[in-house]
Symmetry: C2
Subunit: 346 residues, 2 copies
């Protein structure tokens, strides 16, 4: 039994020129997979080979959500956008997952409206993958929620752990909470309370992870609120860009350094491959009754294909039932504990 | 008229072995400066040349604050610690500034207790300097305050701008507030309100700066709460370390790559110099009635010397009176505005 991925082909900075070739590349590497390409049929056919390849279906959608469109307007007015139609396909069971490189806010709003939340989860979270010295780390939330309660952070921990179980086949991944280590004041109240909840959650919780611990690979899942997560992610992007600029400038300084750069090319390529953000493209919108993956808007076909792979892995690993089961287990053990406490105090 | 810097020689991972040579190097480059070396006299004399060089005074202090000592205990029990004695020298006007590589929490607690806050400033903030594509940026707070009100963030903006005026001789530096740019939700309530206050503050406020904008040099001063600032700083440290590890590994892969590394050495050195964190060593504790600079605990003599230079620049640039004046101006214009508003509504 194969899997089917619905692809919003119109989203992102490059639209079908990137999404369609990425989809075909994905199919050539995944014999069990089918794709439904969603968008302006004419544009899609112009890029697709004729006849349309096997395992490819086209679903026409007459509208496109603009990258800068206010999410509330996209939700209200664009009922036939490629983004919404792709999400509908997941809702109706025609696709196992959907993916878009479009407007993040709109994707979040429409997904939440169409798919609804899983029972026991209050808010969706954006989970990204980052490289570490040891491999990679899943970090959430990356910007969906600016103010989080301890309970929200606990739910993020459960969702992140189940995502890692689904895609990395690690049944008890380590979970840490992002915190600061200043001697005087170890974190704010919300983080302290969330750590307490995580410690009693049955997850493999390892405690606080400081900023530098994220890239040291101290935990497989790192939980934080969306404000902090987004700042950490964007700061990292900015630093990496700056370092790459400086390195290029130093290698471009004169004829000798340019020659050295030529010799160093295989080394620099090897280095670049290890931190290539395109290989980590694809953030998961977790907590919904359906698998939704967000690609970076500027992704090329290589990066977008990686994001499709991610959606496929989540479907194969049954991330949704894993999250639902774990939340149910957690809720029942909490209410048992509450019942015991009530009995003892009676 | 020269300046005098009090140096806690016992703090940090390496103590006098780093702090004393750094102080002597600093003196050789700053003919107008004197230093007071504070610590266990015997240990200091063992490292100093005999006779003690000109412009060097020794002040014995019998105790040392341990790096992992709870700040409250250090404050209560170690009245004769090198850290406290150095701060006392500032309080008593014998030194224009003091510097320590010791326990951050203790330095903060003792500075606040001994020196007190400047009028109109509620809390001290830690301000660090980071390299950018365009030069450098001052970011505060880096971890002194985990929960900040909009008014605190406004005060950070004033202090940061005055610090840049003092040390970089830029009278109207640009000030931004660290925020996230997710389409749906632009920042939390505190940040929105703080932005409003900064917009009306008379500072050269340029609005939101996202994480990547910090290293792009979008503003000369970036304001954030201590939790976010600390995470951003530590995350950057972790990423830089990881990239450096990967680069070393790739250059160490085989005989050819090692040979290339040898050729590339001048390039890599030039690169390293541009992002050498030792050149940015020295975070300012702002808001106190005295200049206090915190060096990284693991700094070597080169790094510690840079932190002493920083303390000296702050003293020469009269950062304290600049902050005090600006706060006074701000308070008077706010109360004028309030008076006008009251009159209008009457």
């Amino acid at each position: 039994m194969g899997i089917t991925i619905a692809i919003d082909c119109m989203g992102g900075d490059h639209g079908p020129n990137v999404t369609v070739p990425a989809a075909l590349d994905f199919l050539s590497r995944n014999a069990d997979a089918r794709v439904i390409l969603v968008g302006l049929e004419e544009k899609l056919r112009a890029i697709l080979p004729a006849p349309v390849p096997e395992r490819v279906a086209i679903r026409h959608a007459s509208e496109v959500v603009a990258m800068d469109e206010p999410p509330a307007l996209a939700l209200r007015n664009k009922k036939d956008s490629s983004m919404r139609v792709a999400i509908n396909l997941v809702k109706e069971g025609e696709a196992d997952a959907c993916i878009s490189a479009g407007n993040t806010g709109a994707l979040m709003a429409i997904s939440r409206f169409v798919l609804k939340m899983l029972p026991g989860i209050d808010r969706p979270a954006i989970c990204a993958v980052l490289p570490t010295v040891k491999g990679h780390v899943h970090v959430l939330d990356m910007g969906a929620n600016v103010d989080c309660s301890p309970e929200h952070l606990l739910q993020f921990g459960i969702m992140g752990a189940m995502l890692v179980a689904a895609v990395d086949h690690r049944e008890q991944p380590t979970v840490g909470i992002l915190n600061i280590g200043e001697e005087d004041i170890k974190g704010n109240e919300v983080v302290k309370q969330a750590a307490e909840l995580l410690r009693n959650s049955g997850l493999n919780f390892i405690g606080n992870v400081e900023g530098d611990g994220v890239y040291k690979g101290e935990a497989e899942v790192v939980v934080c609120d969306g404000f902090v997560g987004n700042v950490a992610l964007k700061t990292s992007e900015g630093l990496a860009q700056m370092l790459s600029t400086f390195l290029r400038q130093e290698f471009g300084r004169n004829l000798f350094t340019k020659l050295v750069a030529l010799l160093a090319l295989p080394v620099l390529k090897g280095f670049k491959r290890r931190v290539d953000h395109r290989r980590y493209n694809g953030a998961s919108l977790l907590g919904l009754k359906g698998i939704v993956v967000k690609s970076h808007g500027s992704a090329d076909a290589y990066g977008f294909r990686h994001a499709i792979e991610r959606a496929a892995e989540e479907a194969r690993g049954q991330v949704l039932s894993r999250i639902a089961d774990q939340v149910a287990r957690h809720v029942s053990s909490s209410s048992q504990a509450a019942a015991v406490a009530a009995q003892e105090s009676a």
